[in-house]
C-alpha cells in the first residue's frame, strides 16, 4: 500500500489561493498540456476574451521563477521548462558493459608486472609499436597513472597501475599478482619457455626509483589529452 493514501490536500497551507486569478490557472494548464511552445496569439485566442495576457504571463513567470519549473520565452513563444540549474536531475547514468580490447588488456598486464615502465618498454615487450592509443584508453578508464620520468634520453614518462586497478581486479596489492611458477601452474604458460625467462616481481612502491625523476607540472595534462582515434589500437 502506498504512503500516499492518507494524503488529503491541506487547504490552509495556501491562504492566497482564492485570490489567484483564474487566468493563471487557465494559462498554466494550456502551457502545461501544449506539445510545443505557444505564441501569444495562440494563447490569446484560447483564453477568455478580455484577458490581460501581458499581466497574466508576467505574474505566472514571476510565480514560477523560484520553482523547479520555470515559464520561459523561446523566441516569441512560451513554454514551461525545468529550471536550468536542475539539468543534473534529469540525467540518468546508464551502466554500459564494455569489453576491454585485447591490446589494452595486454598493455595493462605489462604495466602491472613491469611497472614502472615506459611506452617504449611496453612496445618492446609487446613487439608492436603504437602503444600510445592503448595507454590513452587505460588512462581514460583510470587504471594506470603516469608516475615519473625515466632518467634516460628523451626522459620518457613511466607508468604504473593505481588503486582503481587493484580494486577492479580484486587485488590487495601488486604482490598478489601470481609469479612465474603460479602462472605456469595455472597452465597459462606452456613448456616452451627459453632458459632464463622470468616474470618480474611487481611493486607499487610510490617512491620513485633511482632511474626515475618526478613528473613536472603540465605532464599530466599532456598525457591525459584526448586520444586521437587514428592512433587507437583496438
Amino acid at each position: 500500500m502506498s504512503l500516499a493514501e492518507e494524503f488529503t490536500p491541506v487547504e490552509d497551507d495556501e491562504p492566497d489561493a482564492q485570490a489567484r486569478p483564474e487566468e493563471l490557472r487557465l494559462l498554466e494548464a494550456l502551457l502545461f498540456a501544449a506539445g510545443e511552445p505557444l505564441d501569444e496569439k495562440a494563447l490569446a485566442d484560447r483564453m477568455p476574451s478580455g484577458t490581460d495576457l501581458r499581466t497574466a504571463l508576467r505574474r505566472l513567470q514571476t510565480e514560477y521563477a523560484p520553482r523547479g519549473v520555470n515559464l520561459v520565452r523561446i523566441g516569441n513563444k512560451w513554454a514551461f521548462r525545468t529550471a536550468n540549474d536542475l539539468a543534473w536531475l534529469l540525467t540518468h547514468e546508464a551502466i554500459q558493459p564494455k569489453k576491454l580490447s585485447r591490446a589494452a588488456l595486454e598493455t595493462l598486464a605489462i604495466i602491472a608486472y613491469h611497472q614502472p615502465v615506459t611506452r617504449a618498454e611496453i612496445e618492446e615487450i609487446r613487439g608492436i609499436s603504437g602503444a600510445k592509443g592503448t595507454l590513452d584508453v587505460l588512462l581514460e578508464i583510470g587504471w594506470i597513472r603516469p608516475r615519473g620520468r625515466r632518467k634516460a634520453p628523451g626522459r620518457p614518462i613511466t607508468y604504473s597501475t593505481n588503486e582503481a586497478f587493484l580494486s577492479h581486479f580484486g587485488l590487495e596489492s601488486l604482490t598478489d599478482l601470481p609469479g612465474l611458477d603460479e602462472l605456469k601452474g595455472a597452465g597459462l604458460f606452456d613448456g616452451s619457455l627459453p632458459a632464463g625467462f622470468n616474470v618480474p616481481m611487481p611493486s607499487d612502491d610510490p617512491a620513485l626509483r633511482e632511474d626515475e625523476e618526478p613528473l613536472e607540472e603540465g605532464d599530466l595534462d599532456l598525457t591525459l589529452a584526448p586520444r586521437s582515434d587514428g592512433e587507437e589500437e583496438e
Binding site: A34, F80, Q96, L108, I110, A112, P178, L188, P194
Partner: protein
C-alpha cells in the same frame, strides 16, 4: 439503452422483409448483448424494482419473444435458446406446487438467483457508465504535452577479470619469448657475409696475418665467434681456390694465417695442415 425491450422486438419483427427462405438474422447482433441483456430490458417493462420483479412474468415475456423470433425465422444464438429452455423449466417449477423436501433448490431460490444475476448485470452497467463519466486522460485531463526526456549518460563498466589480465600477460610474454629465440638463431654469419668481410681484409693483408685477430675485431659478441670462424674459413678456402689468397696453418687448432696473393699462381699453395 434508449429503447425499451418491446421497441426492440417491434424493430426486430419489422426488419426482415425478405423471402422466407433467405438466411435468417442472428438476433444478438441486432442490439442485444445476450439473453441476460434481453431479460433486463424486458424486466424494465415491468417498471418495478428489479428486486421485486415477477420472474414468472419475465419468463413468459422472454419465451414469447423467442417464439416470435422463431416465427420470423430468425436464427438465435445458442445462449438465447439455452436461456429459453432454462426459463421454460423454471416456469413449470414455479407453476407447479413445490414437492415437499424435493431435490435441490426450490423454484423460488432459482427465481431469486436469476433476479440477483439481473441486478448484478445492471449494477455493473451502472458502474461502467459512471466509470465512463469520469474525467479521462487525453479527453478531459492532460499530461505534460512536451515532456523533457531524461538524458542518458552511458557509463562504461569494464568487464575485464583478473584471469583475462593474466592470460593476456602470459600470452604476450610467451609470444615474445619464443619470437626472441628465433631471432637469435638467425644471427649467423652467412658465407656471403664472411666472404664480403674477407675480401675487405685481404686488401690490407699483404703479410701473413692471423685471421682470428681480424675476426674478433669485427665480431663483438662472443656467441658469434663459432659461426664467424666457420663461415670465414669456408669463405677463405673458397677464395684460396680462386687464387685470391694464400693460407697457412702450423698444426691443427693453431692460428690460421692468410695473406693476399700478389700474383696468380697456376699451382695453388693451399696451406699444409
Amino acid at each position: 439503452m434508449t429503447d425499451t425491450g418491446s421497441a426492440e422486438i417491434v424493430a426486430l419483427a419489422a426488419e426482415p422483409e425478405r423471402a422466407a427462405d433467405e438466411p435468417a438474422l442472428i438476433v444478438d447482433v441486432e442490439g442485444f448483448e445476450g439473453p441476460l441483456d434481453l431479460l433486463l430490458r424486458l424486466a424494465r417493462e415491468q417498471k418495478v424494482d428489479l428486486a421485486k420483479i415477477s420472474i414468472l412474468a419475465l419468463a413468459d415475456q422472454y419465451l414469447t419473444f423467442i417464439e416470435e423470433a422463431r416465427r420470423l425465422r430468425l436464427e438465435l444464438a445458442a445462449d438465447y435458446l439455452v436461456m429459453a429452455a432454462w426459463l421454460a423449466y423454471l416456469k413449470s417449477r414455479l407453476l407447479l406446487p413445490e414437492p415437499p423436501g424435493g431435490p435441490g433448490e426450490s423454484a423460488a431460490d432459482l427465481a431469486n438467483a436469476l433476479a440477483l444475476r439481473l441486478q448484478r448485470l445492471e449494477a455493473i452497467r451502472l458502474a461502467a457508465k459512471r466509470l465512463l463519466e469520469r474525467p479521462q486522460l487525453g479527453r478531459d485531463v492532460f499530461q505534460r504535452g512536451a515532456p523533457e526526456p531524461i538524458n542518458e549518460i552511458k557509463r562504461p563498466q569494464w568487464s575485464a577479470t583478473l584471469y583475462d589480465l593474466l592470460t593476456a600477460y602470459a600470452r604476450e610474454r610467451q609470444k615474445q619469448a619464443l619470437a626472441r629465440v628465433r631471432l637469435t638463431t638467425r644471427k649467423v654469419w652467412s658465407l656471403a657475409d664472411a666472404r664480403a668481410i674477407l675480401e675487405r681484409l685481404v686488401e690490407v693483408a699483404t703479410e701473413w696475418t692471423a685471421i682470428d685477430q681480424y675476426l674478433i675485431e669485427y665480431v663483438v659478441e662472443p656467441s658469434m665467434r663459432a659461426t664467424a670462424l666457420a663461415s670465414s674459413l669456408a669463405a677463405s678456402l673458397e677464395m684460396a681456390r680462386e687464387g685470391q689468397l694464400e693460407l697457412q696453418q702450423a698444426t691443427a687448432f693453431a692460428p690460421l694465417y692468410m695473406r693476399r696473393r700478389s700474383a696468380p699462381v697456376p699451382d695453388g699453395t693451399v696451406g699444409q695442415s
